[in-house]
Amino acid sequence: MNLLIEQADPPTRVYLAVQDRHWREHGQVDFGTYVLKGSLLVGGDNPVHATTSGTLERTVLRPSSRKNAEPALHLSIRSDGKDQWLPRAKNLSPLTQSAEALLTKIATAGIVGLGGGAFPTATKLATAIRHTPRYLIVNGVECEPGVQADEALMHAASVEILQGALLALQILNLDQCILAIGEDKHSALEIFTQKILQQELSGKIQLLPVADKFPNGSERQLIKICTGTALPRNVYPAQLGISVLNVSTLYAIYQAIYLDQALVERVVTLHTPQSAKNIRVHIGTPAKDLVNNNFPSRANAPAVSTNLIQRGGPLTGWIQSIDACVEKGTTCLQLIKNTVPKPALPCIRCGKCATICPENLLPQELYWYSKPLNEAKLNALKLTSCLTCGLCETVCPSQIPLTNMFRDSQTLLKQYAAHKQQARQVSARVKARTVRLEKSGQSTQSQREKRLSRLRQSRSSNHEQ
C-alpha cells in the first residue's frame, strides 16, 4: 500500500460531535457566526474546535461514530472552502514551560488518544503524574492488518513525533521512553534509527521493534512486552505510572505546543475492496463525502454497500451508517461488500477462542452467558477486560459474531452498573430526606404545639373577660 498521505479537501459541511451534556454553558460562539479553522466552539473538558473555516449553522442529530450509540448531537459548519486557520501564536518556547502549562495546552487543544481509544490525553498524563510516572511507551506498533494510518504518519513526520515524545518526557519528568514499532514496518524503523542518531536522542528514546502479531499494539499487550509484567485486571496503566501514547497523539501534542494548533485533522486509512489510501481528513467529515471525494466511481459500485461502512480495522471494526462522521478516534474506514454473512452454527465449545484470546478469557463461556445477558457470570468471567480485538471471532469454526456480541454485552453491563449506581444514590438521597423531614417535622410539631397552647391561653383569657 502507498504510504503517502493525501490531504483531503474540506467537505461542504463538517459535523462535530458534542460530548459535553452541558455544552450550552461552555458555548463560545453564537450560531450563524463565521468561524476560522481551529477556533474554539465549545469549551470545558471536551472542547470542540472548528475543523475548517465557515459558518456555524446549527445542531443536528446524526449517527454517532460509537458502537451501539443513539444518534448524537453534532454542530454543523458550512465550509467556505478556504480552510483558513485562526491566527496562531509564534515564538513558543515549550522547553521553559512547566508541566502544568503544557498539560493545559494539551487539554485546550482537545487532544485525545488517536489510536482509537479517544481518551483525553491530558487526563491520562495527569493521572500518571499523580501516581509517580515510571514508564512512557510510544506506540507505533499498529498491528491490525490493513490499517496504516500510523505507519504513514511515521514516514511523514518522524521528527515531529520525536519532538512530541520529548515534550511528553518533559511533562512526565522522565529521562527515557520506549518507542515501540512493529517489526514489519522496516522503513519506519530505519527512519527512526537514523533520526535518533542524527538528533543524538539515543539516551532518551529507546527504539524497540515489536513482533508483528495481533494485538501487540493494544495498550495492555504492549505494556507486557515493554515492561515484562502483565497489568493486573481492572487496573489502568496510569495508576501504575505507565503512559502509553500513540505516535499520532504525539504528533498532535507537537502541533499543539510548538505550532499552537488545535486537533482538527487526523490521518485515516480508507479502504475499498481493491485499494487503500491514507488521507489527512478534517475531523467531522461525513464518511459519505470522504468516500465520494476519493473514490468518485465507488471503485466497484455494485459490489459495495451504499449505505454502510465499517469503522475501524478488519478485526476490531464495526459496521455503521455511511452518514457517520470521522472522529478523533477513527483510524480506518472500509467500504464493505454487499454480501450476506454466512449463518453462524452453534458453539461446540472447541476452545480455539480461549487459546487465542490475548487476555486469557474464555470467549465460549462469555458467549454462553451473553445470549441471555447474565450480569453476575459475565462479571465473574471478566468480560470488562475483553479488548474486543476480534481474534476469537476470526478463529471460530462456527463463525459466531462474537466481537459484536461482546461489545453489546459490555455496553449493557456498563449501563446496568450506571443504573445501579444511580439507584444507590437515589435511595441514599431518599433516606436522607426522610431523616431530615422527621427532624424538621419534630421541630415544627413542637413549635405548632407551643403556638396552639399560646392561642388557647389567649382565647381562654378572652372568654374570661
Partner: protein
Amino acid sequence: MNNKRILSHGLNLGPESRPTSTASIMNHVLLALFPGLFAQFYYFGTGYLYNLAIALFAGLLCCLTIALAMTSTSEKALSYASPTPKHRFPGSIARKNISPILLDNSNWVTCVLVAIALPPNMPILIVTVAIVSALGLGKYIYGGLGQNIFNPAMVGYGVVLISFPSDLALWPPVIEGLSGATPLEQLKYNSGQTVQELTAGPAFGTLAGQGWEWINAAYLAGGLYLIYQRIIGWHIPVYLLASIILWSAAWYDMGSSLSLGSPVFHLFSGGIMLGAFFIATDPVTCPSSTRGKIYFGLLCGSLIFIIRSWGGYPDGIAFAVLLANLCVPLIDHIHNIND
C-alpha cells in the same frame, strides 16, 4: 467476520489457529478414527462394518426426523424454551433447518463412536436403540449441537448397556478357539491366579490382551494426530491416562493374585485410548478452562479405574465419562477463568 478477508490483509495467527469450520473439525475426528476402526475390523471381522452400516443408516433417519420436527415447530412455540434474545442468537434451535444437522458432521461422529463401542454383529434393534438414544436423548433433547451436557455417544451406549446387558457382554474372541471372556474380565475374575500366570495365557499379548493392545495403539495414534492438528487439547488425555497409571500402580500389588493389573495392561485394555482421546475430549461436554480440563481428566481416569476394578462392569469408560460430565458445570463454576 469473513475469515478470508482478514487473511487477505495478512493477519498472522500462527499454526494453532488456522480458521476452520465445525464440519472440518468433525472430518478430522472421523479421519483419526480410521486406524482404530481398521484394527478392530482386523481382529473382529466384518461384524464391525455391519454395526457401522446400521448405525449410519439409523443416524441418517434419526437426523432427518429431528430436522423435520424442528422445522415444523414454529419459532413462537420454541421461544418459550429458548431465552428471548436481545442479541442475535445464532444458535437458536428454532432457526435450524435440515442442512446444518446433516452437514456439520457431528452426528456422524456420534454414530461411528456408538458403532465401534458396541461388540460386533449386534442386532439391528440394539444398534438402533443406541443411535436413537444417543442423538435424541443425548443431544437434541437439550437443543442440539453444543447444548448437550452428556456425551451423546456414551448416552446411547449406556442406555443399551443397561437395557441389554447379556448382548453387550458378547465380545467375540480375538483368536478362534478361545473362551469369550475379555482380558479385563479374566483379570477381574482371576480365580486366585497371579498376574504372571494370567498373562501367560493365550488371550494375552506382550502389553495387554491379544489384539486389544493393537486396537488401543491404533486409537492412540489417531488421538496423537488430533492433538497434532490442534483439534483437541492434550490436557484431558494426558491427565486421564496419568490418573489410570497412578491408580493401577497403587493397586498393582507386585502382580499377586489380588493385583488389579499393571499400569501398562490398563493403558492398553478395553476402550481406554478411544475414551481418552475421542470421548472424554468432546469439547461440548468438557470444562472450558485449562485447569478445569485437568480436573476433568483426572476424574475420568479415576472413575474408569474404580468401575473397572470394583464396579459391576468389566470396563467403565461410558459411565465414567457420563459421571464426569455431570461434574462439568461444577468444575466450570469453580474454575471459570484461564489465569
